[in-house]
Every structure is written in structure tokens, then in C-alpha cells.
């Protein structure tokens, strides 16, 4: 069998070559080679990223935007350089890129700073049934605090957003719609450009949770026009502890601060405090410097592989997984069929076996998947399940790993005596 490869403008790398950049993929679990299919929760980190962070710690570590000594200047340049790299990757201006602790931090920032300034009693906030809790709970808290109402865009039977219902809900004049670019459970790619346009036509702002999309899709945020777009580092082959909130300049300029502290002020007196310019206004305290540098290195690594090539590989693998899963008896597979609006995130339910038990048995075969409600209990209710088992793919996954997943699912049936 020919070795799969990822071909990109930057060149062509075999999957074996890519895998070699991830030492953790050589691990053995329960005596077998690890098949890591839990990338939707956290993706693994390549050496290039680890080395970038290591270099920072061993050669440049100092606080940013403070000292005039050499190390502080180097650290500041690396940190702001990371912002510039990420901004270029997103098709954005560096001023519009705020470092947060993760996507949860990004969405909470919007709910606090923009939400409290712009959402009041009786206002409506539009969410969708497929949102992760990080794009539900901050809005719920805001709504409770100011007396606003939450509306929900339903998910149809194939696992797509009901766009007609979305348009209907927009007619009620919500202040904002908060929507995932890609569902972390269903793998559905939402028509985000259309949703942003519809929202703007209705006078709402669009807040996009890009946690699953940023590692998978090329982004041009200036062209997309979303008012806010958040994602996290550790799902994008980077470290934990850092995320990004992009905001449209006009919206960010008008937005009051979120957390107070060092770095986010222009001047503090006993009588009066004035705020720093964007983005510093939204980065109180010492930021995650090494992690931001690591995230920029991850972005560069992914660009080196080629996002289009990585996406093509994952899409092909995802389609293969859906095809093979269809032959396993007793499985209910969620989400749209293979196609342009579906990525390699596959949630399933095995009739008669709880998701945790499926995951436990897969782990015996050294297959790492996620089991549970995936922080999407509203969606679990919609699907009529308490939990699902989810395999989520990354650029380094292989057909052989999918085959092992299928074999292990047959073993689940054997253990549970499902015939």
C-alpha cells in the first residue's frame, strides 16, 4: 500500500514524515501503539512548537512591555511577533488580535465587555442548539444579569443548522448571534459567511466560536466580516493556556475593558483611569508569553504542511471513517454525510453500550477517543442521547488507525455480547 502523503505548495510531506515530528505518537498504551483520535479535545504538538517555546524559556524569558533591558525587549518582540504571525494567518490586522487564555476566555471577554455595554433588559441573544457550553454559558450568565432572552436556532435531523429558522429568529432583532464555525460533536461546517451576512442584515453582530475550525480551515477574517472570532491554541497543534480573540476594529475600539490590571491602562491616578489602545486594553496582566510564541509556531508549522493539503487529507480520512463505520452493526453515527460541509469529527452511539464503556474498551486497543456529552448538553438533548463516543481526526492520522478503530468497535460488541 502506498504511503499517504500531504501535498502542499510548500512541498510534499508523507504522513510518516509528519508523524515523526510528534514524539508522543510513538507512545505505546496498554502494549500497543497509540492511535490518537481525540484531536477535537486537544491536538498533539510538533517538535517545532516545543522547540520555539523551549528557546523562549532558555534564552529570552522576561516580562513583556515593561523593562528596557535586553531580555525584556526580546521577549516583547517575540510576543508581538507571534501576534503578527497569527494576524497574517487570519487575514487580520495585528491590532485586532487579542491573546486570551483559550476560546472560553475569548467568548467570556466578548460577553463581559461587549455584552454588558450593548445588551440590556428585554434584548435577545441568538444561540444554536449545537453550541459548546463555552458559547452558551457566558451568554446565559449575561442574559440572567441584564434580563435578556436567549433564542435557539434548531439543528435538523442531518445535523445541520436550520437556516430558515435562523432567518426567522433574526427577524426578532437579536443583538447578537453566537455560533460555532464547526460543531465539535457533529463535524458540521456551518455556512458561516452566510450567517454573518444574515446577522448583519438584521442588525446583529456575529460572534463565532472557531475552536474546531481554526485548525482545519484557511481563514480570512477580514473578508468573513465576523465581528468576533475566537479559537484556542491547544486544538491547533499548539500549547494550552493561550487562545485568540479576533475582533473587528470598529467594534473593538468602541468596547470597554474586560479585566482590569497592568498593561491595559494608559494612565492611572486616584481620580481617573484611562485605557490603553486595542489590543492591550483587553490583555490585563502578564500574558501567556511562551504559549503565544508556541501558538504562532504552531500556525507556521501548519502553514508549512499546508492548510489545504491538511484539510484534504483529513476530509478523505473522515469520509473513509464514515464509510467503514456504516458497516459496524448497532451504530448510530451523527452528523451530515461526507461532503464539503463535514469534517473528520465523528460522534457515534453503540446501541446497548454506554459511551464510556465504548471508550474504555477502545483504550485497551490504545485508541484514544472522547466519551461524554462533549460540553454540548443542549445538543445531546436534541439528539436524544446522554453521551456519545467521538473520534476526531488530525493531519497525522492514518487509514490504519481508522481500521483499528473499526476492529476495536467490533471488540466492544464482543465484550458486551451483542452477537
Amino acid at each position: 500500500m502506498a504511503t499517504a502523503s500531504v501535498t502542499s505548495p510548500a512541498g510534499s510531506r508523507s504522513i510518516d514524515e509528519i508523524r515523526a515530528e510528534f514524539p508522543i505518537l510513538e507512545r505505546r498504551v496498554n502494549g500497543q501503539p497509540l492511535a490518537y483520535l481525540d484531536n477535537g479535545a486537544t491536538a498533539q504538538t510538533p517538535l517545532q512548537v516545543l522547540e520555539a517555546m523551549d528557546r523562549y524559556w532558555t534564552e529570552h524569558n522576561a516580562n513583556v512591555h515593561r523593562g528596557v533591558h535586553t531580555l525584556s525587549e526580546e521577549a516583547t518582540n517575540l510576543y508581538e511577533g507571534a501576534r503578527a504571525t497569527i494576524a497574517r494567518h487570519l487575514g487580520a490586522n495585528p491590532r485586532d488580535v487579542i491573546f486570551t487564555r483559550n476560546v472560553t476566555g475569548a467568548l467570556n471577554l466578548v460577553a463581559h465587555a461587549w455584552g454588558r455595554a450593548n445588551v440590556g433588559e428585554g434584548d435577545r441573544i441568538l444561540l444554536t442548539e449545537m453550541e459548546h457550553h463555552s458559547n452558551i454559558v457566558p451568554w446565559y450568565l449575561l442574559a440572567k444579569e441584564v434580563g435578556a432572552e436567549l433564542d435557539w436556532v434548531p439543528v435538523d435531523d442531518e445535523g445541520r443548522l436550520d437556516i430558515a429558522a435562523l432567518e426567522g429568529a433574526l427577524e426578532r432583532g437579536p443583538k447578537l448571534i453566537a455560533v460555532a464555525h464547526i460543531s465539535n460533536v457533529l463535524g458540521t461546517v456551518n455556512p458561516i459567511a452566510d450567517i454573518v451576512r444574515l446577522a448583519h442584515d438584521a442588525g446583529a453582530i456575529a460572534v463565532v466560536d472557531g475552536a474546531q475550525a481554526a485548525p482545519k480551515l484557511p481563514l480570512d477574517l477580514a473578508a468573513l466580516g465576523a465581528d468576533f472570532y475566537g479559537f484556542t491554541g491547544h486544538k491547533l497543534y499548539g500549547p494550552t493556556g493561550v487562545g485568540v480573540l479576533y475582533g473587528r476594529s470598529e467594534v473593538l475600539e468602541a468596547m470597554p475593558p474586560y479585566e482590569g490590571g497592568g498593561s491595559m491602562i494608559r494612565k492611572v491616578t486616584k481620580e481617573r483611569i484611562t485605557w490603553a489602545d486595542v489590543p492591550a486594553r483587553f490583555e490585563a496582566g502578564t500574558p501567556p508569553i511562551a504559549e503565544a510564541i508556541g501558538l504562532a509556531a504552531a500556525v507556521e508549522w501548519l502553514e508549512g504542511v499546508g492548510l489545504a493539503a491538511a484539510h484534504a487529507h483529513e476530509a478523505e480520512l473522515g469520509a473513509y471513517a464514515l464509510e467503514r463505520l456504516a458497516d459496524v452493526p448497532g451504530l448510530r453515527v451523527f452528523g451530515p454525510p461526507a461532503g464539503d460541509d463535514r469534517v473528520g469529527i465523528v460522534s457515534l452511539e453503540m446501541k446497548g453500550v454506554h459511551a464510556h464503556d465504548v471508550s474504555e474498551i477502545l483504550d485497551r486497543h490504545a485508541i484514544a477517543v472522547r466519551a461524554g456529552h462533549h460540553c454540548a448538553q443542549v445538543l445531546m438533548d436534541r439528539l436524544g442521547v446522554a453521551a456519545t463516543t467521538r473520534a476526531s481526526l488530525a493531519v497525522y492520522n492514518t487509514r490504519e488507525e481508522i481500521d483499528r478503530l473499526i476492529d476495536a468497535l467490533h471488540d466492544v460488541r464482543r465484550v458486551f455480547e451483542l452477537g
Binding site: 446497548g352 454506554h354 464510556h356 474504555e360 461524554g372 456529552h373 445531546m380 453521551a387 465484550v415
Partner: protein, 143 residues
Amino acid sequence: MDDLYREQILEHYKRPHNFGRLEDADLDFEDTNPFCGDEQHLFIKLDDEGRVSEVSFEGKGCAISTAATSMLTDELQGMSREELIRLPKEFVLDLLGIDISATRMKCALLGLKIVKSASLGSSADWDDEGRPGDPSEASTAGI
């Protein structure tokens, strides 16, 4: 021979004992495993002496949580609320008779937590080893 999913565990999972609702329960409590969202609802009827005369549970759960609660409910007949509150973790773990990893411990102990909570009339701690106290002061059912 599968250790975790041995025959008896699977048997209790597929056909849990004491499964269903008790409409005229004296004590009941519903709780969730925060790790996975699984829910169980437990019902207890007491006799004139305040001892368990009937017990049942319902809910969705994994093999471990369902089997653990199924086995546990088989053992509660005749116990007082005081005795229920003081049941140690080992009581359930011995019934299961298998090694439970840290990640599955809450699955194994969900039923016990609910039994204690029903007896206390308020949510018991996961690590509760049995609290001394006058059970008559505990309020009843389903708070």
C-alpha cells in the same frame, strides 16, 4: 475473560435489578455524574420502623454505574437511614469486585451517593464515609 466487564457486571447492566419508579416513595433523590452527565433517580420506601422495605432506581448510565447501583439496591433491604448514611465506599466496591480506575470511580459510587443523599435529604459528598447525626433531623424526599 474480561475483568472489568465480567459476566455479573454485564448481567446487572443489561437487566438491572430494582429498576423503575416507586410512585409512593418515602425518600427519593436524583443526581448526576458531573464527568459524563449520567443521571440516576433512586426511590426508597420505609416500613413502620423506618427501615428500607422497597427500593428502586431509574436513569441512564454506563455498565459500571448501572451495575453498581443495581447490586447496591439488592443489599439495602431492612437498613435504617442511619445505616444507609454510614455505608462506606468499600461496600459498593466489594460488591463490584473489580478494580475501578480513578476516572471510573464516580461511575461506581454514583448510586451510593444517591442512597446517602436520599437518606440525608440533601446532597452527600462523593467521599462521604458516613456522617454521624440524627437522621430524624434530615428532611425528606427530593429536595
